[in-house]
């Protein structure tokens, strides 16, 4: 008898899509046909829809567009096309059958309109690099999103990149900020507090305040930019340790006082660290810390030894592109 009942249920499917039936409910959202199922929606795209607009409308977040595209195995969207939108998207860890996602964190220092040297990238080149990211479909994500990825808490797009600037150069305000705004890229500035507002090449606290208001994150890079991994020649071990504490907690206190921000991340000066420094950063409540060891970061990289790839002034565009390691192949069968 149960079999017969199920057959009757099956017959219900004969009704056209516009009729309310069985497990599927119908809704009209601005002339768009939508059918709701328990785990997903089936949406018929209308003129002008993009993956991003659908993602915004149905997942309350435009940044899941890549996921919708991936689920439907298509890169383009046409009016009249039926799109499946999973309601509980989850790609934590960026794991696939063929390997796992890695996220490059780029480290810039100074940007200059004229000359370049190793630590100074020419403005023109910087602009080309930012344009390349957009053209080739990379997604710039914030450091917070990146750490959610590292902690297996959140998913980020498969071609994610993080952008950071070290030290506190004036160019961050004068050159970098307008370019980042143009592309809508989030970025993080690691400042060492002693240099801020000290000379004509360094950014001021007022400028930093303006930058944070425009979505640029400011994080810690110690007070003096000393190498944390080695005691000074005349430092006893105890003095060395006390100075480490000052560098790590002092810079955070100053950022708090000047910008009213809680710094959560630390960029080690020269990228150098030791277990003692790592343990101290943990003890003081930093969420993570970054080196300058080149390479992308899988989610399982230790939070206090995050890799960063420095972008140098003598890089060509193809050098730059080679720094964008977004995937590690390894068959996961």
């Amino acid at each position: 008898m149960k079999v017969a009942f199920k057959v009757i249920q099956l017959c219900c499917l004969v009704f056209p899509a516009f009729v309310l039936e069985g497990s599927a409910a119908i809704a009209f959202a601005s002339e768009r046909t939508v059918r709701t199922f328990s785990d997903f929606l089936a949406v018929v795209a209308k003129e002008g829809d993009t993956f991003s607009s659908l993602s915004q409308e149905y997942l309350n977040d435009p940044s899941w567009d890549w996921f919708i595209a991936e689920c439907n195995e298509t890169g383009s969207l046409k009016a009249g096309q039926t799109v499946i939108i999973p309601l509980r998207p989850d790609k934590r860890g960026g794991l696939t059958l063929r390997g796992y996602q890695t996220v490059p964190v780029l480290a810039y220092h100074n940007i200059s309109p004229g000359k370049s040297d190793k630590m100074t990238v020419k403005q023109e080149m910087f602009e080309q690099q930012m344009a390349l990211l957009k053209e080739k479909g990379y997604r710039v994500v914030s450091l917070d999103q990146f750490f959610d990825f590292l902690e297996f808490k959140g998913s980020i797009p498969p071609k994610s990149v993080v952008i950071t600037f070290d030290d506190g150069w004036l160019s961050a305000y004068e050159i970098v900020l307008p370019i980042l705004k143009k592309y809508g890229y989030p970025a993080t500035l690691f400042i060492y507090t002693n240099i801020i507002g000290r000379n004509s090449k360094s950014v001021s606290w007022t400028q930093l305040l303006e930058m944070t208001a425009q979505g640029i994150a400011v994080q810690a890079h110690t007070m003096s930019h000393r190498n944390l991994a080695h005691p000074g020649k005349k430092e006893s071990f105890k003095e060395y340790f006390e100075n480490l504490e000052k560098e790590l907690s002092g810079s955070r206190e100053i950022i708090k006082k000047k910008l009213n921000l809680e710094a959560k991340y630390l960029a080690y000066p020269y990228g150098d660290t030791t277990s003692l420094v790592v343990e101290l950063a943990k003890k003081l409540g930093y969420r993570g810390a970054l080196t300058v060891k080149r390479g992308g970061n899988p989610f399982f990289v230790p939070n206090y030894r995050v890799n960063r790839s420095a972008i140098y002034g003598d890089f060509t565009l193809s050098h730059f592109e080679r720094s964008l390691a977004i995937f590690q192949e390894q068959s996961l069968k």
Binding site: M1, V3, V7, G93, L97, L280, L332
Partner: protein, 385 residues
């Protein structure tokens, strides 16, 4: 109608015999007759996807029919290449659109059982490799476990923490220890007492007593010169691991003596993870899980028994035979449950059970045959309507 089958045991046996001889769709016996009469000969061959039950009526009318068929193809393809989570996602979409589709229903149920089981197998394999210091291979297994099942906190823990060189040691305080003494012992410098005090929120002259544990930052050279991940050098000094197992060891042994194997196994496993090299701990863990598995097998809890035996090292006593036997028993259990459903005319549930049987024992001839027969019956039923 169910009243006719008060003597279920008898019918179960009878149907079993029939199934293994002739297949149920053609059986003239009573249980099969209670089903609407199928037309067996036409439907021996599996039907092509376009003619799957219920769909011929929806074709051309439901705009989602085509979408469901695309996902069906994707699901089959994913399954073929071993992408089980991908296949499950696709089947769930097919099932959502065509709720009565047997293939989608069966595959979804099968994969939902299979995937966590496979994930756990990879995790266990990873543990064995980790214990034998094959870290790269262990990582691959943990990653595979996590790929299959994103909610596998143990795999995440191993990948994030166990496989990374820890930056601290954990020292369980012993009676008579002082902070200065611990500094002298581990840093070869009593004046580093302030460091221990700082990292443990103590004062240098604070009294310390068991069962307190101290966190000791490793004093090493800069990161570039860090050695590759290596096994702990001494039992009482392991990176990031709790060192005092004595308590858990005693508790575990006690529990074993009392016959509480579940508790002794859990405690022993905790100790083994901290010190994989120690033979005594391993023996205790193996013995505990072995006894637990045997006990559960006797209670006919084959599912749990299988899990317990999986935790025992391969080659320990007759563990490998036990695994095979329990898997067989479990397969048979699901097979019989399928037969019971069949008798109660719940053909779809019966098929699902038989699919689980096949997962556990791919060579189970009756399950294979009965699934086909079940599908045939369903298809014919729908045609009749």
């Amino acid at each position: 109608m169910k009243n006719q089958f008060a003597e279920k045991g008898f019918w179960l046996l009878l149907v079993l015999m029939i199934l293994s001889v002739s297949g149920c769709a053609t059986s003239p016996d009573k249980p099969a007759q209670t089903l609407p009469t199928p037309s067996p000969d036409k439907s021996r061959q599996p039907l092509p996807p376009s003619a799957l039950p219920g769909q011929e009526k929806t074709k051309g009318k439901d705009p989602l029919y085509e979408v469901a068929e695309q996902y069906r193809l994707k699901a089959r393809e994913d399954e073929k290449i071993g992408d089980l989570p991908g296949a499950l996602r696709a089947w769930e979409i097919v099932k959502g659109i065509l709720p009565d589709d047997e293939e989608a229903g069966g595959e979804t149920l099968k994969l939902k059982k299979q995937i966590p089981a496979f994930a756990d197998q990879h995790f266990q394999k990873g543990l064995v490799l980790f214990r034998s210091h094959s870290y790269a291979l262990a990582r691959k297994e943990f990653l595979t476990a996590l790929y299959l099942n994103r909610d596998h906190p143990e795999a995440i823990h191993y990948l994030k923490h166990k496989l990374a060189e820890e930056d601290f040691l954990v020292y369980p305080v012993k009676k008579g220890d002082t902070i200065r003494g611990v500094a002298a012992k581990f840093y070869k410098d009593p004046q580093k007492d302030f460091l221990i005090a700082r990292f443990n929120d103590l004062k240098v002259d604070s009294q310390i007593e068991p069962p307190r544990v101290l966190r000791l930052p490793v004093l090493d050279s800069p990161s570039a010169k860090r050695p590759p991940l290596s096994p702990p050098t001494a039992v009482d000094l392991a990176p990031g691991k709790i060192l005092d197992f004595q308590d858990d060891l005693e508790k575990s042994k006690e529990a074993y003596q009392r016959g509480n194997y579940r508790e002794s196994a859990a405690l022993a496993e905790k100790i083994v993870v901290s010190d994989p090299e120690n033979r005594e701990y391993r023996e205790l863990m193996n013995a505990s899980y072995y006894e637990l598995g045997t006990q559960l097998g006797r209670e006919k809890k084959y599912d749990e028994a299988l899990k317990a035996f999986h935790r025992v090292d391969s080659g320990y006593k007759d563990r490998d035979t036990q695994v095979i036997q329990n898997r067989k028993q479990l397969a048979e259990f699901h097979y019989l449950r399928g037969v019971k459903f069949y008798i109660e005319e719940e053909i779809e549930s019966a098929i699902q059970e038989w699919q689980v049987t096949l997962t556990l024992e791919p060579a189970h001839a009756n399950a294979k045959k009965d699934i086909q027969n079940g599908r045939t019956i369903l298809q014919n039923l729908k045609k009749m309507k």
